[in-house]
Subunit: 301 residues, 2 copies
Amino acid sequence: MAQRLSTAEEYEALLEKHDTWLFDCDGVLWKGDHVIEGVTQVLDLLRRRNKKVVFVTNNATKSRKTLLAKFKDLGVQAHVDEVYGSAYTAAVYISTVLALPKHLKVYVIGQSGLEEELHAEGIQTLGGTDPADNTLAPFNLNPESWKPDPDVAAVVCGLDTKVNYTKLSKAFAYAQKEGCHFIATNTDSTYPSSYGLLPGAGSISAPLRYALGKDPVVCGKPSGTMLDVIKAKIHFDPARTIMVGDRLNTDIEFGKHGGLATLLVLTGITAESDITGPNASPTVPDYVVQSLGDLRLADKA
Amino acid sequence: MAQRLSTAEEYEALLEKHDTWLFDCDGVLWKGDHVIEGVTQVLDLLRRRNKKVVFVTNNATKSRKTLLAKFKDLGVQAHVDEVYGSAYTAAVYISTVLALPKHLKVYVIGQSGLEEELHAEGIQTLGGTDPADNTLAPFNLNPESWKPDPDVAAVVCGLDTKVNYTKLSKAFAYAQKEGCHFIATNTDSTYPSSYGLLPGAGSISAPLRYALGKDPVVCGKPSGTMLDVIKAKIHFDPARTIMVGDRLNTDIEFGKHGGLATLLVLTGITAESDITGPNASPTVPDYVVQSLGDLRLADKA
């Protein structure tokens, strides 16, 4: 059963126990374009106490630089090295874990942020924002109209609002090749836009998973790949690290898989009724607070 | 174990036992643009013997009229009432089984053949070939840019080579509505083009299945919906009916679900190695012949 924290003393004890704090962003730090009350004070408090802070988002359409711009716009202090998006994770996974030789290429279903992160890791890409592949024109496999590039050794798929049959068909052709890697930035089925739910990155890779009859390596939460990439970049002790999030099936699962403590906030997707009563999720966080902003009271303990 | 037929007497016995013959088309009657040797003679022989012949295809991009044009082009005699495509099946399912009131509408991910069949059944459609939805322009749910039609009561999804984020997002928005029907013409993961495999109708509906977390009603083989629609249109005795196909997981499963005899031909997808040896499929047809054309020898028995 999750421990519900609500007093300054409880918040202070939580701070004492954890040196590294991993945060999901949307629904935790902000909602849409509004910072959640008290969040900037809590982050300031953590930094004053020499805690390490890390921001972990499944957003696959933005590079870390672009993600950082959102922090700045909202007045939330952050450094690019503290921000991990699933596009960046995919790029580091390909360059470091797969150690893809530099002459090989990646076919991309995804947007400019994903391309930027791949290019920053020295990875050559095809597809993505290439105008030739952003089309609703008919596609066929006639070698006179399309010659597959023999150097493509991986297909990476993120959220792509210009997804189309040409991209899906090319990605499918490449991914069927013996030894071709199949990578998804994340498997979120939907994403919450300002006006409601839209299909997410997991829905964009669903045609490939179905046509190929196989699952991709997943980079985003709850996959451990994201934590492996963070571990490769910064040092932290899992026993003194806590993951803060608003989603049980991504954030809290991610922390649990990684052997981290987990803190659920109720300012995002998860409601009180999802964690209590007969329909409660089997995923139980270690701690629950109403809002991350509440932790600013720790200073008063 | 499947019975392998190879003599004139065996073919004749098969003809004697079955009054109604259901045929898959591609890989059975023809391959690409070539009629398989002997097939027109076999169809002529069946008609002379007063057998009922029915053509059953999962093709969801063509109306029955357009399908019929292919028969004519290849010199294979057929009547429009003998041809059942998954687009037609979806239309009849909506108009007859769901009995959708005429003032309600269907949102379509699919091509003109699917629209034609829906319109022929008096069903109003949105999406499909509407130029407004065949776009790679950004889409959002802001009610100032898109107002959902309150009369949409079903989403139907077939193969659509102009699939895009606007169509997927609108279909997703509609399909989430309480009571909205979710229908797929068929779930073929791929389809064999002249130059290789491309993503099939099942891959086009995969994003919706994943985002919604639910499966559609499926109209094409191996679903029983196709047979229900045929039953509603023609009379036949399942005990004296045989399904002829080249795919174990669609054609042969379809026949077995429906309590029909099943005949596998080896001129299409399924190879000898798929039905014999240690890796044989668990789906076992009643009979196997090398080619449908072989049955013309029955006349010599």
